[in-house]
Symmetry: C2
Subunit: 501 residues, 2 copies
C-alpha cells in the first residue's frame, strides 16, 4: 500500500468512529429518555477523546508527510492535491490546539449551554454573562493557538466553519448586501401591505403535517430508503455515512410553516449528505465543503424552491386537500403571500428570507469586537439592542428576544453565524447557474419536476466533496466570484412582483 | 490510585465503549433505514474490534495481576473477590481465543445469519447447511481454545452464557424436568379441554395495544423516565447503561398475546438492567450474572405475574375497556384460560409456559452431539424431526417450522438455548422465595401492587450484580440448590386447577 492509501484508510477509520458519535447524538435529541443524559455525555466524551487522539496522532502526521512526498502537487484542482490539502489542514489545525484547551472548551461549553438555557428561560443575561466571558476567552485562546497569518483573530474562528474565508471578505460581501437590502426592506414595509398571516396559525393536524412534509421532502429528492424523518426539539440533519441520513423537525398544530419549511430545509442538507461520494466516505473527497456551502443547499430547497410561486402552483391544491378546514377558503395567491411575508421581527429563526440576513449582519458585527476584546461580554445586551434598533427600527423587549435567543455562542460557536448568510449568497448564485444550465426551472417546479435540479446539484456541488474550497467551487460552478448580487437580485425580483414595488 | 481502582476504571471505559455499540445495535433494529445496513456493520465491527483490543490488552492483564496481589482472597463472597474473579474470568476467556478466530467467527456469523434468513424463508435447509457446518466447526475450535477442564467441549460454550454451569448439571436438571413435565403435558392434552383461543385473534387495535402494554410495563415497575418502548421485528431489551434501558416489542392487530406478554417479558429484563448498581457500571458488581438469571427476570414477570389469575383479576376489566369490540362478550375466566392454553405447537417462541421447555430440551439434546461431531450438521433436520415427534407427538411439516425456526445457531449461539429453561427454573425458585418473604403475592397483584416484589428482586437479585455466580445466588436467595422442582410445582398447581387434573 502507498502512504496515500494508508492515509485514506486512517482517515476513513477515524471518520467511522466519529460517525458512531453522530448516531448517539441523533438518539440523544430524538428518543433518549431523560435519565440517559449523564451516561450519554460520558459515551460521547469518550468517543470524542478517541477521535481527537486519532486525528492528532503522530502516525497520521507521518502518513501525511509521506503521502505529500509521494504526490508532489501540480494541479491545485486535482483530487489528490485536494485530499492532501484538506488532510494537512485538519491535522495542523487539530494539533495546534493543546489537548488541555480542547478539554476545557468541551467542559465549559457543556456547562455554558446549560446556563444559557436557564438564562434564556428567565431572560437573565447576568446568569449567562460569566459563561460567555469564559467561552470568549477560550475561543480567543484557540484563535491564538491556531494562528491567523496577517489577518485578525476572528479569521481563525471563522476558518473552522468556512475554511479559507476571512473576516475581511465577509465584511465586504455583507457591506454590499446591507447597502442594498436595508432600503429594499424599507420599501417593502412602506407599502403597508401585510397579508393576513393568521391563516398559517389555523389548525393544521400534526399527523397531516407529518405526511405532507414527508411527501414534499421525498418529492424534492430526499431518499427515504437511505434516511428518515423524526422529531426533535431543535431540528437538525445528521448524515451518519453512506446510506443513512437523518432529518428531524418539530410540529406545532397552529403553525404550518415551522415544520413544513423546516423539513424542506433539513431535506436540503440531507440531499447534500446523500449526494456525497460513498466510496470516498471519511476522506476529503467524500466530505462537505463548508458550513456555508451546506447551508446553501438547505436554503436553496427551502427558499428558492419551497417559497417559490411555481412550487405552490403545484402544491397548493394538495395543501388544501391535506388541510381542508384551514385552507378551503384561502386562495393560492394569499397563501403564497403569507409564506413570503416580509416583516421585521425579533427572532432570527422565525425571520423571513429578506430580514433574516440583517439578523446575521448584526451578529457578525458583534462577534468581531467580542473576539478582539473591543466589546466586553457585559456590554453585549446594550450593543445588541442598539444595533437591532438601527437595523429593524424596533428594540427587543427583553434579552430572551434579544442577545439570549441563540444557542451558538454558549456552545463556543463564535464565527458560525456568517455561514448562514453566506449560505444564502451561495444558494442564489448556484440557483442562477442552475437556471442558466437547466432552462425554465419554474415550469419544471410547477409540474413537480425536481429531479433535473437535484441531479445538477449532485453533480456540480455534492459529488466533488472537498475537491474545491468554497470560493473555488463557486467559480467552477458559476464562472464568477462569490457575490451578494445574485441574492439581492433574487430578493428584489421576488418582492417587487409580490409587493408591487 | 491502587491497582484495583485502576482496574475498575479500565473496565468502566471498556464497558462505556461497548455501550456505544448497544445504542447502534438498538437503532439498527428499530429505526435505521434499509440503506444504512452496510455502514452500520462497519461501525459495529470497528467498535467490536476496539472493545476486544481493550478487553485483551496486556495492560489489563497486568492490572488484574497487581490487583489480585493487593487483595489476597479470603471470603469468596466478598465484593472485591467477586470483582477480581469475574475480571480474571473474562480476561482469560477473551485472551485464549485467538484474534483470527474472533474475526472469522464474526465474519462467518454475519453471513450465516443472512443465509439463515433466506433459508428459513424458502424452508431450504440445504441453503443453510454449509453455514451451519462452518459455525459448528468454528465454535468447536473456540471450545478447544478456551478449554474445558475435565468436562466436555460443550461446557466451554455453555460457560459463555451461563458462567460456571456444566453440561452435566444441565443434563441432570433437564432429565428431572422432562420426567415430570412430559406426563403432565400428556395429562393436560388428554382432558381434551381447549379454550377458544380465537378470542385472542380478534381485532386489537395497535394503538390501544401500545397504550395497554406500556401501562402494564409501567405498573410492574419499569421506569420510563430511564427507558423507552419501541418497535422491532425481533423484540429485545438493551440496557445501554445507567438511566437508559430500551425495550422493544412488535404488534399484530390480530394477536393480542404477542405484544402484551412480549412487553412484560422485555420489561422484566429491563427491570433487571434498571436495578443494577449505577455506581458499579461496567464492573462485575454492576453487571448481570448470566443469561439464565436475566431470563429468570423476564419469565418471572411474563409468566409468574403476567399469566397469573391474580393479575387478570386486576387487569381484565381494563383490558375490556381498552378492547371493547373484542372482549366485551368474554369472561375473565375464559380469558385467563386462553392466555394459559397448553397445546403442542411447532414454534418455540409461540409456545405456552409448559411445552416451551420441551422445545429447549430438544435443542439441548441436539447441540451436544453437534459439538462433539457425533451429529453431523447435515443430519440435523432428521434428528430434529425425530425428537420433535417423540416429545410432541407430531412432526414439523417443513424445516421452516422445524430446525430452521431459530436464529441462534446461525449467529454462533450454540450453548445459548439451555439458559431459557434454566431461566424458568430460576424464576420459579426465586418466586417461591419471594412468596415466602412477602406473603400473599396474589392478593398484592390483584390490587395492582407490584412494588413489594419488584423491590425484593432489586435487592436480592439485581443489586448484587455478579457478586455471586448463578448457583451461589440461588443458594443465597432461596437457601436451596437450584432445582427443577419449584418450576414443576408451579406448573402442576396452575394446570391442575385450570384443567381440573
Amino acid at each position: 500500500m502507498t502512504s496515500y492509501e494508508q492515509l485514506l484508510n486512517e482517515l476513513r477509520s477515524t471518520a467511522l468512529l466519529g460517525s458512531c458519535s453522530s448516531v448517539l447524538g441523533w438518539d440523544e435529541q430524538t428518543y433518549m429518555p431523560p435519565g440517559g443524559a449523564e451516561h450519554r455525555a460520558a459515551q460521547l466524551s469518550l468517543l470524542a477523546g478517541m477521535v481527537h487522539e486519532r486525528a492528532t496522532s503522530p502516525l497520521l502526521g507521518e502518513l501525511i508527510v509521506a503521502a505529500e512526498q509521494e504526490n508532489p502537487s501540480s494541479d491545485p484542482d486535482a483530487p489528490t492535491t485536494a485530499t492532501l490539502r484538506e488532510a494537512r489542514r485538519n491535522y495542523d489545525r487539530s494539533t495546534k490546539i493543546p489537548r488541555r484547551l480542547v478539554e476545557e472548551l468541551s467542559r465549559v461549553c457543556t456547562l455554558s449551554q446549560q446556563a444559557w438555557g436557564e438564562a434564556r428561560k428567565q431572560s437573565s443575561f447576568a446568569h449567562f454573562l460569566p459563561w460567555l466571558e469564559q467561552v470568549v476567552a477560550l475561543r480567543r485562546e484557540e484563535a491564538d493557538a491556531v494562528g491567523y497569518g496577517d489577518g485578525v483573530p476572528y479569521d481563525a474562528l471563522l476558518d473552522e466553519f468556512e475554511p479559507g474565508m476571512t473576516a475581511e471578505e465577509v465584511s465586504g460581501l455583507f457591506a454590499g448586501l446591507r447597502d442594498e437590502l436595508v432600503p429594499l426592506i424599507a420599501e417593502i414595509v412602506e407599502t403597508g401591505r401585510q397579508p393576513d398571516i393568521s391563516i398559517l396559525e389555523r389548525r393544521y393536524p400534526i399527523e397531516q403535517q407529518r405526511k405532507f412534509s414527508l411527501d414534499a421532502a421525498q418529492q424534492i429528492g430526499f431518499d427515504f430508503n437511505n434516511g428518515r424523518l423524526d422529531e426533535a426539539p431543535h431540528p437538525f440533519c445528521s448524515g451518519f455515512g453512506p446510506g443513512d441520513t437523518r432529518l428531524t423537525t418539530r410540529y406545532d398544530e397552529h403553525h404550518f410553516p415551522g415544520a413544513f419549511f423546516g423539513t424542506l430545509h433539513e431535506a436540503g442538507h440531507g440531499i447534500y449528505d446523500q449526494g456525497l461520494d460513498p466510496a470516498a466516505f471519511g476522506t476529503p473527497l467524500g466530505s462537505y465543503v463548508s458550513l456555508g456551502i451546506h447551508e446553501s443547499q438547505s436554503r436553496l430547497w427551502e427558499n428558492f424552491v419551497g417559497r417559490s410561486r411555481a412550487f405552490w402552483r403545484r402544491y397548493f391544491p394538495a395543501a388544501q386537500q391535506a388541510f381542508p378546514e384551514s385552507l378551503q377558503d384561502v386562495t393560492e395567491e394569499t397563501f403564497y403571500a403569507c409564506v413570503n411575508d416580509v416583516r421585521p421581527s425579533f427572532i432570527r429563526v422565525e425571520a423571513d428570507e429578506a430580514t433574516y440576513n440583517l439578523h446575521i449582519l448584526l451578529r457578525f458585527e458583534l462577534e468581531q469586537p467580542l473576539v478582539t476584546g473591543e466589546l466586553s461580554p457585559s456590554d453585549v445586551p446594550s450593543a445588541w439592542n442598539e444595533k437591532f434598533t438601527q437595523y429593524f427600527g424596533m428594540t427587543p423587549p427583553d434579552d430572551a428576544q434579544g442577545c439570549l435567543q441563540d444557542i451558538h455562542w454558549s456552545g463556543g460557536g463564535i464565527g458560525y453565524f456568517p455561514t448562514y448568510s453566506l449560505g444564502n449568497m451561495y444558494a442564489a448564485q448556484f440557483f442562477e447557474a442552475a437556471r442558466r444550465d437547466l432552462g425554465d426551472l419554474d415550469a419544471q417546479f410547477s409540474k413537480g419536476e425536481f429531479a433535473p435540479l437535484k441531479n445538477w446539484l449532485n453533480e456540480q456541488i455534492h459529488r466533488p466533496g472537498q475537491r474545491y474550497r468554497a470560493n473555488r467551487l463557486v467559480q467552477v460552478v458559476t464562472g464568477e466570484e462569490l457575490s451578494y448580487q445574485p441574492l439581492m437580485k433574487h430578493l428584489r425580483d421576488k418582492y417587487s412582483e409580490l409587493y408591487g414595488l
